[in-house]
Amino acid sequence: MSLWDFLRDPIGFLTTWFYGVLAGWGVAPGVAQAIGFALGSFILATGAMLFVMLLIWFERKVIARIQDRIGPNRIGPWGLFQSVADMLKIFTKEYITPIGVDWLPYNLAPVLSVASVLVVWAVIPFSITFYGADLNVGLLFVIAIASMGELAIVMAGWGSNNKYALLGAFRAVGQMISYATPMVVALLVPVMMAGSLSLNEIVQRQTVWYILVSPVAALIFFIASIAEVGRSPFDLVEAESELVSGFNVEYSGLKFGMFYVGEFLHAFTAALLFTTLFLGGWRGPGAEQIPILGFIYYVVKTGIVYFLTVLIRGSLPRFRMDQMMDLNWKLLTPLSLAVLLVTALTNKLLEGLALGWRVVVLILLNGLVLWVVNGLLQRYERRRVRREVTSVRRPVARPQQGGAE
């Protein structure tokens, strides 16, 4: 019986057991809870950071397969321990600090870039019993914390005393704040449907996955979250051919490694959030009774979403700056507002209808909105007068006419 209890819900079982032991030692309940919180947050955060090694291996392997290579295959089975070896190596690399850096921003930036992603894990519900904090403003908290990453990038760019780094930081912030707009609007749809900002409640009320209620909002959130992370096709931030490597040119050793960890963790966290908000989180057959099953569903769904982002990274070319801004401000933002309007009005008008029918109507209307907005924008695009780049006279140094001087 006890073994079954453990297998059914390891986290809950261990938590109960741990508090039981502390109570047995005569620790006051408040103190015991504080100790439990400290230990829990430490284990979860460390786990998340070590998990990144697996993500890096996975991504390298998948991208290698896309590009018809083998990828890491020397260390451990299928090269599984390649990232471990890389981590050991990066621990012994020298920090090369350029002259004239702004000490505090320069050193705080890598720490903050990891922390800003890691803190999101505090509110994510992994299963019905396995979650850190159940904040009633969970989603707002996630959005607020995610924008702290922009601060880290500005600090890195400004502190580095390097033009490329600063230009990369400007681009990064321009891109991130732009894509925050449609993302935040698209996130209104799940909030509206669930009637709560708490991630836990959003999962619990998803009797129908919200990707079915509003596929367009899900798509907007997906695109915007890739742009927020700053991965290909939105990796203008670190466009190698233009900006060396963007805001982290002047970082070396583990300080650079922390930016790397932050990026991968951010990509995975975006997949976690997508699953929570649009794919029903840990919901699935039997997930309420057997919490560990819910955790497995959650990991599988997130894995699929993450695989999709890796696939996109491996197959799409980079956007140009103006294309990137156009996609955001001239397509995604109007589209997200239109979807919000249509979903809110339709759902209210059809309140008497059965849920299944409502979902069908909403899907059809979503398709209609996508079609109409896209059609309107395409008409606008066709009428727009384009500036011919090639015909513009540019001040280029040319050899003087009429002989050498």
Binding site: F42, I90, L118, D134, G174, M192, S196, W329, L340, K348
Partner: protein
Amino acid sequence: MWSDWLYVGMFFVVALFLPAAAITIAGILAPKKPNPAKQAIYECGMETVGEARVQFKVQYYIFGLIFLIFDIETVLLYPWAVAYHQMTLFGVLEAALFVLILLGGLVYAWRKGALEWV
């Protein structure tokens, strides 16, 4: 509720501590042999010209302003979204009006050419 925020606060401290500790440990393990050539600013092998903190394009600032307007107005919509199920059709229509005004602002910025990247 209070204990949830305690947990988040602890998590924040831990999340700041872990990368900071890793960077410090690596700093102790790593060699330290600086020299002027190594510490020079990386600029594709060229000598650095002028100040590194350059002026930035005004376009970034304009996008920042537009973002600010949109983000604040969207945050105002969040309480509405939370109360959506208790609302009558009238409340939804009012929010629709609000969103339409927001769209009007977007169209205005668009026509003014603030969304062009030049």
